[in-house]
C-alpha cells in the first residue's frame, strides 16, 4: 500500500465521521449550548461566591467566567470523547465496524484514524463555542486562539483515546446516562475545571489528591496555560503519557486474536 492509500483512508474515515456529525444537528447544538450555559448562567451565579486570586498563568485578578473557560473547552472534548466511544459501540453493534475492519489496513491504523476523526470534530466544537462566547463578550488574548490549537489537539487525542478504551469495556449499547454518571461527572467535578486546586486543598486533602492525579485536570491545565501562550510542561507530560497508555491498551483490546468484536457471537456458536 502506498502512502497515498493511507492518507486516502484517513480522509475517508474522518470525512464519514464529520458527515455523520453534521447530520445530527441536535448533537452539535447540545455540544455547544452545554458549555455556554455553564459559562453564562452558572459562572454568573458563582461570580460573587468565588474570587480567584492571581495564580499562573493569570497576571491580574480574573473573574470566575475567565477562570472556567479552559475547563469548559476540556468539557466539550471530554463529552465528545465519550460520545465517540458510544458511536464505536454503536458501530460494533450495528455491524458497520466490520466494514472498516475488513479493509486491508491494520487495526491500529484504523483505530488511530477514528481517534483523529474524534479529535478534529471536538476541536471544531471548541472553536464554535469560543466564537459564540466572544460574541457574548468573553474575549481572550488574541494569540490565545492560536496557541490553544496544539494543546487542544493533544487533549482531544487523550480524551478520545480514553473513549476508545472505554468502548472496549462497555459490552453493548446502553444509554448515555451510565457514562455520564460514572465517567464524565466524576472526571469533570474532580478536576481544576470549576475551582482552582488550592481551594480544593483547603477543604479536603484527599479530594485534592484525587483531583491532582485526574488526567482531566492535566488536560484543563494544559489548555489554560496554552490560552495565555504558555506551556505547562508537567500537564503536557501527563497528558501525553495517558494518551499513549490508553491508546496502546485500546489497540491491544481491539486486536483480532482477542476477538472483542465477535466474542459473543462466537460464544453463541452461530
Amino acid at each position: 500500500m502506498t502512502v497515498s492509500a493511507w492518507t486516502l483512508a484517513l480522509r475517508a474515515i474522518v470525512g464519514r465521521e464529520v458527515l455523520r456529525f453534521v447530520q445530527q444537528r441536535e448533537r452539535f447544538a447540545a455540544a455547544v449550548v452545554r458549555p455556554l450555559l455553564w459559562l453564562i448562567v452558572f459562572a454568573a451565579g458563582f461570580r460573587m461566591a468565588l474570587g480567584v486570586s492571581i495564580t499562573p498563568p493569570y497576571e491580574t485578578y480574573i473573574t470566575y467566567e475567565v477562570y472556567i473557560v479552559p475547563g469548559l473547552i476540556a468539557m466539550i472534548q471530554l463529552f465528545h470523547g465519550m460520545q465517540s466511544a458510544l458511536s464505536m459501540i454503536y458501530d460494533r453493534e450495528m455491524g458497520s465496524m466490520r466494514v472498516l475492519l475488513v479493509s486491508p489496513f491494520p487495526r491500529w491504523y484504523l483505530l488511530c484514524c477514528r481517534l483523529v476523526a474524534a479529535t478534529v470534530i471536538s476541536i471544531v466544537q471548541v472553536y464554535v463555542f469560543l466564537l459564540i462566547a466572544f460574541a457574548f463578550g468573553y474575549d481572550l488574548p488574541a494569540w490565545g486562539y492560536v496557541t490553544l490549537l496544539p494543546a487542544a489537539i493533544v487533549t482531544g487525542l487523550m480524551l478520545g483515546s480514553l473513549g476508545l478504551l472505554l468502548s472496549l469495556t462497555v459490552r453493548q449499547l446502553e444509554n448515555f446516562a451510565g457514562i455520564m454518571n460514572f465517567v464524565i461527572f466524576p472526571m469533570f467535578f474532580l478536576s481544576s475545571a470549576l475551582y482552582p486546586l488550592w481551594k480544593m486543598q483547603e477543604s479536603s486533602v484527599v479530594l485534592y489528591q484525587i483531583c491532582s492525579i485526574n488526567p482531566f485536570t492535566q488536560a484543563v491545565e494544559l489548555l489554560r496555560f496554552a490560552l495565555y501562550g504558555q506551556l505547562n510542561e508537567i500537564a503536557l507530560g501527563w497528558t501525553l503519557l495517558v494518551l499513549v497508555v490508553a491508546l496502546l491498551l485500546a489497540i491491544i483490546g481491539y486486536s483480532p486474536s482477542r476477538g472483542m468484536l465477535s466474542r459473543r457471537a462466537a460464544a453463541r456458536g452461530e
Binding site: 500500500m1 489496513f105 483480532p256
Partner: protein
Amino acid sequence: MSPEQTLSHMIGTPALAVEDLTFGYERDGFHLDRVAFTVAPGAFTVLLGPNGSGKTTLLLLLTRLLESRQGTIRVCGFDLRRTPARTLGRMGVVFQQPTLDLDLSVQQNLRYFAALHGLSGRRAEQRIADELERLGLAQRRRDKVRVLSGGSRRRLELARAMLHEPALLVLDEPTVGLDVPTRSHLVRHVHALAQETNTAVLWTTHLIDEIDPRDQVIVLNKGRIAASGRAAEIGAKEGGGSIAQAFQRLTVDPRPAEQVAS
C-alpha cells in the same frame, strides 16, 4: 478477468483454501474442528449448515474479525495471518447484518468504502458507476440509504463488496429478511456475477432452495464438514437424490432420538 485471476486459474491456485482450521476449546466442544475446503476461481460455493453449525465462526475467521491459532486461510495463495492486507484486499464481504450508513447517500457510502480499499478519484467514480449500473441502482445514486427498500440495500451492499474487484466474494446469509422474489433475484444475480467476472463466491445459508444442482456445496455440521461436492452428487450419495433429504440426514442430531429410545 484480471491478469492475476487468469494466472491463478492457470496454475490452479484456489481462490480460497482453508486447511486444518480449528477454533474453540476441546472441553466445550469445538466451534470448528479441523475444517478444510477449497473454492476454485469463479466457482459458486454454498456453505450450508443449520444454526449453530459454526458458519458464523468460520465467516468471522475468514474476514479476520477473529483469529485462530490453528489452521490456515489463503486467498489466491495469500496467507491471511502473514499478509492480512493483501489477503483482505482480494476479498469482498456482504455481512448478514446491514452495515450501511443510513443517513448517508448511496454515493457517500460507496465512496467511503472505495477509499478504504485504496480507490480514489476517477477510478473510484468509474467503479461506483459500473457497479450501480450492474445492479440497477444508478438512478438512486444521490438518495439516502434510509429511503431504500430492504432488497435495494442488499444490492447496494453487494455493489459495495464488488467495488475493488475482489477475487473472492463472501456472503453471510445474505437473504435474511428478504421476501421470496427478492431472494431468488439475488441468488440469480450472484450466480450471473460469478460467471461474468470469474469471481469465486462463498455463499452461506441454511435455506436449501437457494442451491442450484450445479453449485458446489459444503455441508457444515457441529463444526465439522459433513459432506462436500456438487449439490446433485451429494443429493445422489446421501439423500436418495435430493439435496434437501441429504441435508436433513447429514445434520440431524442423533442424541434426542437416543434419549427418546431410552
